[in-house]
Amino acid sequence: MGVRRRRSGTVLAGDKVRSRPDWLRVHAPTPNQVRDMRMVRDVLARYRLTTVCQGALCPNAVECWGARTATFMLLGDTCTRACRFCAVPTGNPHGKVDRDEPRRVAEAVQALGLRYVVLTSVDRDDLPDGGASVFAATVRAIKRSDAAIRVEALVPDFQGNDAAIRTIATAGADVLGHNLETVRRITTAVRDPRAGYDQSLAVLARFHELSPTTITKSSLMLGLGETHAEIMAGLRDLKDVGVSIVTLGQYLQPTRTAYPVARYVPPDEFATLQQEALAIGFRYVVAGPYVRSSYHAAEAFAAAVRE
């Protein structure tokens, strides 16, 4: 059989089976990482909780779970929206809400010894408040158990519902996040019709108005077909609504039917974009092929606070 010797940074010519460039390879977990990962998985199962690490089939799960970090996905495992970049199943949960979830999340946080927690959720367009009350209750439950634990709330757009946005803004989270996901032109192609570029910017602007001292954060996926000028326009729009932290990562197609990857952005382009974003005035920018919105979130928060 022909052995393919790997050359750094290239996909080998004539390679029919491999589909990604070398910079997107990660090492399989070591036995120690596997042990830590299983411990996290056991705790999540015991408290009947979902993480976005699982729902989104995240490539960083090994690293993050090994470091005892996890991003909780609240309000169930079924999303009312059908964005084309996402692996989370779409459906109608018919208003079903688990009111005990905030307590279990706080207990799991304690059991895992987490010091920085990212909370996110599915979209719940079936609920009048989009699930904001459960989200806020979870932030408060964690803070009640230990006020020193940092909590990042990465929330949906709540269809712009101002009461829901206010509920989140006043819950006591250290970071308020909402992802713009992509540049303006590609928004309608990849996000659910109920989402919108201007609506997302409005949510971030409102967070900044309601809680001006709280750090706001947003994220763009790259490799969906956007141009450099469009990325810069997106970043300037985020800066204009008061966002402090941005993350830029490679979009990866999670399933065969999801939106296809248009391009794999090389690491040096991410490095350049990081500098360009910092020049616009963001306090902290996390950029790289495998960056996800909660990747190195604790470091980003600490750095943004120091700024």
Binding site: V3, R5, R18, V26, H27, A28
Partner: protein, 78 residues
């Protein structure tokens, strides 16, 4: 007499099944523990699996294009 050491697909987190996409060593090659041995892909991620021990790669069980699940035998090192 040598004992053979099984190379199995590690627990990759939230992964059901992978496709073997590249062997970085051929049968008969010497390998050292921790050396990159093969690449496997999921729909979203490419993982590099390292050699678990020193020795010679005596048998490749799962070839490029084959599918594998956690703990399945991929190769043998003797």
């Amino acid at each position: 007499m040598t004992t053979t050491h099984a190379v199995r697909l590690p627990d990759l987190g939230e992964v059901d099944e992978v496709t073997i996409t590249a062997w970085l060593k051929a049968e008969g090659d010497a390998v050292t523990a921790g050396e990159d041995l093969l690449e496997v892909e999921t729909e979203k991620t490419t993982f590099v699996v390292e050699a678990p021990t020193d020795g010679t790669l005596v048998r490749i069980v799962k070839r490029e294009g084959d599918k594998a699940k956690q703990d399945e035998l991929l190769a043998e090192i003797a």
